[in-house]
Structures are given as C-alpha cells and as structure tokens.
C-alpha cells in the first residue's frame, strides 16, 4: 500500500487558510517523500497546526491543493483515513477507560491494524494496560496517544507538538517511538517548536513563520546556510565609554555573521580555532574585559534567529 507510482507521501501546493480576516496559512507549498520524517518548525501561531489539520482532513483549506498518499480529501476520505495515524495537539482521551481498552477501541475503527497488546507494549505501557487513563502521568498519556495513532498500522503518521509540556525523560521516550516507526520506512510529519527535537528526528524541515515557509531543507543544510557550523557567544564587563558593537568584530577571520542579543554578542563562525585568538586581542585592544565566552554548534534555533531576528519561543 505505497502511494501510486512512488510519488510523494504528501504534496502541498499554494495552501491557504483564513479564519475570517485572519490568514493563518498564506500560500504554503512543499512535498514530503515516502519514508522520511518531515518537520514543520516554527513559533506558536506560525500556522503549523492549521497546516497539519488540513493534511489530516480535519479542516478544509480556503484554497490550494493538498494530496495525501496520492489521494485528495473530499473524494477518498475514508480510504485516506485507513492509512493515517494521527496524534493531535493535546487530545484528552476518555479518563474512565483503561489503557488497553482505549487502544482496542481505536483498533476497531481500522480494517487492518496491529494487535493492541503489542502496541501497548511498544509504547512501554504494558504494566499500565489495566490502569484507567485518568491515573496516567502526562508522559504516559502522550505515549498512549501515540499508541492510538500507531494501532491502525499507518503508512503516514502525524504528530502535532508531541512533546510539548513533557519532562525530558518522557520526551526521550516519545522520540524513541518515532525513531522506531521511522525504521520501518514509514512517513512521519511532525510539528514542533523545539529545535533539538527537529534536529534529532527530522530528515527534512520546513521553517514556518506567519503562515509562510521561510526556509526548507535538511537540518544540516539549514545550519550550513548560516555560513558556519559554530557559534561563539561573548559578553563584556560594563563600564566602558560605549558597548561592544557587532561591527567591531565582523571583520575577524572566519566570522560569517555577528548579532547582538540580550547582553551578548553572537558570532557565527566556520572555524572557531581560527577566530578565537584574534577575537580576544580585538576585545582587549578596544578596552573591554570579557565576562564570558562560550562556543557551541550552530542549531536550528540560530537559523530561525538569523531568518527572522526573533527566537522561536519568544511568542
């Protein structure tokens, strides 16, 4: 049951969605290949959930085309739904059903699917199989939601903010589940505003802002587009005649970009070992004393900042 002619799992062309005068999605196009994990990345209100819900057939688009598994919504809805697994943002499953009963209920909706007990085991809830949903922790509830999405043995899995609000350990457990699903060569569409999540799970990402795709590619490509893989962050002691400015450092060797941010200067560099010695000299020669210096790998967060001038979680 692969898409006909090996086409994309999802193809979106000039998708738009308005709520009254508010345009949530303003002309989005992308294609998701079968077997990849595709991330929709962006701050709250960027249009991620709206886009995903259109792809899930839960919202009609205002205009544009969305093809899922080679089919169109409105014609073959039930056929598409048979092959989709969906994990909505914040679904509260019935508190009075047991874990096993809940997964079995969702299994019953699909023509073909997996043994509920196996799926409960896969998400690590076998010991909670007889527990009421209302007694589960947040992380356990989220894993149960993933189990309900997996039990129909989908070809395409949608995860909308699957780890928002979870503790680090629960997040890791959900990531492992997605990894396991990817290993079976199935397609995943994931929305998130966590950069580490996108870098860890996604083969390709589209960065969304204000209802538009502002960048698209593999996490690696997007980070490379900054011109350097590394970031040096410095801060200087206060008290000089003026602050240290980005322009003071832009011409140092291997520096690709400099911007100021909350008391820091952030330098994007290709080779930190080439930059650091001249950087220290320059700071001292301008009469400043360093109060901190840190280096790290550039992340998708830096990509977002360089594209929009804002942080992902500012909003």
């Amino acid at each position: 049951m692969t898409p006909p002619s090996g086409g994309p799992a999802v193809a979106v062309r000039d998708l738009r969605k308005s709520y009254g005068a508010v345009e949530a999605v303003r002309g989005i196009s992308f294609a998701i290949h079968a077997g990849e994990c595709f991330g929709l990345l962006g701050p709250n209100g960027a249009g991620k959930t709206t886009t995903v819900e259109i792809l899930e057939g839960l919202l009609p688009p205002t205009s544009g085309e969305a093809e899922v598994l080679g089919r169109r919504w409105g014609r073959d809805d039930r056929e598409i739904r048979e092959r989709l697994g969906v994990c909505l943002q914040q679904t509260v499953l019935s508190e009075r059903l047991e874990v096993g009963e809940t997964v079995a209920l969702f299994r019953a909706f699909y023509r073909e699917g997996r043994e509920p007990r196996d799926v409960v085991g896969e998400v690590g809830l076998q010991e909670k199989a007889r527990a009421r949903v209302g007694t589960l922790s947040g992380g356990q509830k989220q894993r149960l939601a993933v189990a309900c999405a997996l039990v129909g043995d989908p070809e395409l899995l949608f995860l909308d903010e699957p780890t928002t609000g979870l503790d680090p350990q629960s997040r890791r457990q959900v990531w492992d589940l997605v990894d396991g699903f990817k290993k079976r060569a199935r397609t995943v569409v994931l929305t998130t505003h966590y950069m580490d999540e996108a870098e860890k799970l996604c083969d390709r990402v589209a960065v969304l802002d204000h209802g538009r795709v502002i960048s698209e590619g593999t996490p690696r490509e997007l980070i490379r587009s900054l011109g350097g893989d590394h970031v040096i962050e410095i801060a200087v002691e206060e008290g000089g005649p003026r602050g240290l400015r980005p322009g003071d450092l832009a011409d140092l060797p291997s520096v690709r970009a400099v911007h100021a941010e909350a008391g820091h200067l952030v330098l994007t560099v290709a080779e930190p070992h080439v930059t650091i010695a001249p950087l220290l000299e320059r700071v001292a020669s301008l009469g400043f004393r360093l109060s901190s210096l840190a280096t790290r790998h550039a992340s998708l967060e830096d990509v977002f900042v360089s594209l929009t001038g804002r942080h992902l979680r500012d909003e």
Binding site: T91, R96, E101, F109
Partner: protein, 351 residues
Amino acid sequence: MSDRTRARAFLALCLARFRESYREPEVLFWAFVFPVLLSAALAVAFRERPPEPSRAAVLRGPGAARLLLALRKAPLVVVEEAGPEEAAHALRMGRVDVVVSVAADPAAPVEYRLDPSRPEAGVARARVDDAVQRAAGRADLVPTRDVPASEPGGRYVDFLVPGLLGMNLMSAGMWGVGYALVDMRIKRLLKRLLATPMRAADFMVALMTMRVVSTFAEVGVLLSFAALALGVPVRGSLAAVMAVAVLGSMCFSGLGLAVACRARKIETVSGLMNLVTMPMFVASGVFFSVERFPETVQPAIRALPLTALNDALRAVTLEGADFVSQWPRLLLLAAWGGASFALGLRLFRWS
C-alpha cells in the same frame, strides 16, 4: 470500510460508552438512586392524611356569641374570636381561612371575608356557611351519604410515579447525550475520532443506543420500587411501558444531540439544557396535572414531548392502555426526536 469493520467499530463504540457510564458514580446516582429517593420523599410528603379542618375567626361584637355557638358544633371547622385588626392580620398571614362577622341586627347579612384565590378559603366558606344556615334552621332536602374511596391508582403517588419516570427519561436522555458530546468536544476527543475511519453517524447512533439500553435498567429500578414499596399499580403490560419509555428516551437523546451540536462550553450546553427542560418540568404534568393551566395554553403544552411521554406513561401504567392506543402521543415523540436528531446531525461541529 467493510460491513464487518463497521459493525466491529459500532460495537466498540457502544462498549466504550457503556464502560464510561457505569464507571461514573454520578451517572449511577442520577439514573438510579435519585429518582427512587425523590419518589419516596414525595410519597411521604403527600401520604394519605385525615382531612384538614378549616380555620375561621369570628369578629368580636354583639352577634358573635351566636355565631361562635353554631361554628363550635360544626364538623371540620376550628373557630376563634378575634378583634378586627387581629383578624385581618391572621387572614393576611393565612393563619385563618375566613373571617366571619355579623351586625347586632338579626336581619343584617352575615359577612365572610376571604381571599377567593386560595382553595382552602372556598372550602372554609362552604363549611362555615353550612353551619350558619343550619343554625338558622335550614334542613337538607335530599338525604346524602359519603363513601370514602382511596384505591390504588387514584392516589397522588400513583399520579406522580409515571411523571417522575418521564422526567427522568428526559433528563437522562438530554444530559447523557448532550453533556457527553460537549465534554468530548472540549477534550478534542471528537476531533480525534473524526481522524479515524469511523463513521460519524455510527458514533451518534452508538451514543443513543447505549442511552436507550440503560433506559431498561432505569425504568426497571424505578417501577419495581414504586410497585413494591409504594404499591403503585402497573396495569398495562410491562412491554408496553418499556416500549413507551424507549421511544421517550430516543426522543430526548435526539433533543440532547440538537442542544449540544455546536456548544463549545459546558456552561453553554447547561444553559440550553435548562432552557429546554425547565418549561417541561413545570408544564408537562410531572408533579401536577396539565389541566391546571388555562385553556388557551393547553394546545402548546400538549405539543411538548414530555407532556406526550407523561400522558402515554400514565395511560399504560395506571389505565392499562396498550401501546398502539397511544399512537398520537408516540407519533409526536417520534417527530420531536427525528427532527432534532436530523437538525443536530446537520449542524454538528466536531471541534
């Protein structure tokens, strides 16, 4: 979706709904315990009592002694002597039902002061007047005799139990379907279900089916209690009672769906529920007969589904009517249920 998958999905939905209901203690209380408690309490409050005597005050004055003498001998009249102000106050407060006064002149009329809108006042006037006329020498022209008749089926509690049954079917149907839907909508569970191959209509029908199935248990418990503990007669066949109850339950499940089809807040659906159910609680003959309302509003009250359900339930339990004889009322119930189900499904909002 094949028919087998569809049947399996429907049964799974019914089973999930059944588990959700019986695991909710409040549901069990309102469905089973509350109606029994209410009918027991009302049966005690309106138990058979000896007739209440009328209370009369005689105004102090020259003719008072004559009146007092006559009224003290009268059956079911309690009389006291009072000054004008005291008597007026007692009348206003409802402590006496009628104030009697007469001038010294034997030819002057006896005056009854009373509030004609109070039923007790009318009874008191009749009893007092009878005593006054007899004291003046009036005799009965026709001999009469009272035969006390209080058979099962004619008591207030007998009238009440079918009404409570109807009221309960209304509340359980509307809240059971309406509240559940809005709760699932708020939790986005409806949206999550929509994302599966499940059929929307199957989901609604499963919800209503489970409501109707629990009707059997609810009606069984209340009727058994009424029959065994309160001696309420069930003269029609149990099958006819159940059939009427099931139709009523379906009708109010449909209304529940219509009321809940778009609401996104529990407050909204609660308000709408009360708006729909309150007039029927009052007007549809749960606690007192519909006949008490003025003639002009009777057609409107008769058109309400709870009136039809209560009338049909009373006919089959108290009068032993069969199911078919109730067709106009059953047709009305089916029309209300069908129209509201269709409307609810058409306007339904999943998120």
